[in-house]
Amino acid sequence: MTPDLMKAGAQTRIARESKATAVRSGGGEAAFMRRHEPGSLDLTHGQILYLEDITVSFDGFKALNALNLTISVGELRCIIGPNGAGKTTMMDVITGKTRPDLGRASFGATIDLLGLRENEIASIGIGRKFQKPTVFEQLSVFENLELALKANRGVRSSMFFRLNGEQLDRIGSMLTLIHLKDSAQRNAGLLSHGQKQWLEIGMLLMQDPKLLLLDEPVAGMTDEETERTAELFLSLEGNHSLVVVEHDMKFVGELMQNGRNGKKVTVLHEGSVLAEGLLSDVQANDKVVEVYLGR
């Protein structure tokens, strides 16, 4: 080894280490000097979802009217509001199904949601449950979960895909979690309405999303199933961010746990936020009582 080479090697090493220390001295997670990889989720500001001035109109009718909403990392947020308030349209905008006329939507601080297609939005970590349970009816419960399992979504890798032991275990524990272990080989189309809801929630969780959007998740469930669903969502809180749209006030009440940790409810009305705050405060709000709860 020549002295030249040794010198060059030493310089490379110094350069590499100094870069590393530069990042560290920048303060770990703080934004200063932090290198941001394009396309990766930036949660340093504590918010996972930003909606700014979102406006959507259908033939002149404003389904969303300058809607502003932010969701924090790990938050469980309930969204309520009368029919036609724009709750489902809001989910459509976040998941790429509807393009707003105006406004900005971003996932974390940097990922612009409005430039992505539905499947891309799903891949970066936003999962959605529809109002009407939507599962693959001709496939077995097991296969439904297998398709949702986080894995390469490309055509070729699907052709040569094989479940490994770890993935099998994940599906197994999900089947236990959603109480469908005994129905694993049944066609999903044969499940009861409530079971389909659970399966769809299970499919969402298999994708391991950062943010879950749940549109009326307990519709058609028995009281017991509703209670179990509330428990499930509360167990997800913290590791995942959840946005729950629901009419069932009892369920909302269970999720809010009397406003522990300052949990907030958002009331939508005519496409914008009417009120936001603790459930008890919102319920006492005169405007809210007038448009929604007082009826």
């Binding site: 499947n119 693959f136 001709q138 398709l147 005994d182 049944r186």
Partner: protein, 375 residues
Amino acid sequence: MSAVMPGTSSTSPLSAPAGGLLTGRMWSLLLAFVLIVSVAVPVMNLLIPADSVFHLSDYAVSLIGKIMCYAICALAMDLIWGYTGILSLGHGMFFALGGYGMGMYLMRQIGRDGNYQSDLPDFMVFLDWKELPWHWALSDSFVGQLLLVVLVPGLLAFVFGYFAFRSRIKGVYFSIITQAVTFAAMLLFFRNETGFGGNNGFTDFKRILGMPIATPSMRMTLFVLTGLTLIGFFLFARWLVTSKFGRVLQAIRDAETRVMFTGYDPLKYKLTIWVISAVMCGIAGALYVPQVGIINPSEMSPAAGIEIAIWAAVGGRGTLIGPIIGAFFVNGAKSWFTQAFPEFWLYFLGMLFIAVTLFLPHGIVGLLRRRKEEH
């Protein structure tokens, strides 16, 4: 398959769905078919004397050979319609394109043995053309034309499919557009100027690879080749639908939005299976033409495309084996009917389709399965 398994309510330990391509019994059946196609039929046709009861007539061989080509189309239709839920009425076009690809080569193989003793195919002499048009450039090369048999339907399907699926054209609208494209292609091929022999198409073939085409041994070679291609495609299709890819296709059929919100791009999946299906039809067409000795634009008629769908529906969609059975059943019935009651065939076909739609949503295979469950 994804059939409901009774008795799984007992807490069986969780296991992955059966990973094998076929069950042991199905493998032996498949092997039996390989032997029938490649040994039994040649022996019965070529070696056993004509007065024996075990002799298989030339007519039967050419009929079965033809139907096996149709069966490949029905199989291709099952992949796109039965499994992915996209009804194509344009598969007749892909079939004919493959057929024309092979036909061009066979026309050039006639050499100077045509009516006009010219280097050019007869219809070109008749039109007073002096040289081959540009799209006949590869027609002297067998391999070149085989490439076109695959590439032309594949490329056309890719371009058409890309724009149709990207625009999210679905259901009956997609079917109508495929039908319209096929009809337009038929009109184009009817014209003499396009250089495909107009309404007469191509016929009077003499040779293939320098060997005479109308000999018993060549007929048998083509028959065996077709049979093995059908079996090969069946295995390939079976591999596709038992993979996760196949389950995504079925998921697209059942709930496409859910597939999208699960992170899959349905465009890529639909396009892949659409192109595979079109290429299978093209290859079927290429095997068909040397066996029947003619290709003309009527193969692209709307009725031809609809018939392929009927074979699949009669046999049983989403089962792979069903459409093959359907192709044999409907075409077998057709060849008998058109001899016995020629004028009633279309009525019978219409009634068959209605009856299957109303009473046998899962076709012949569904009927057989139901029988089996009852016993």
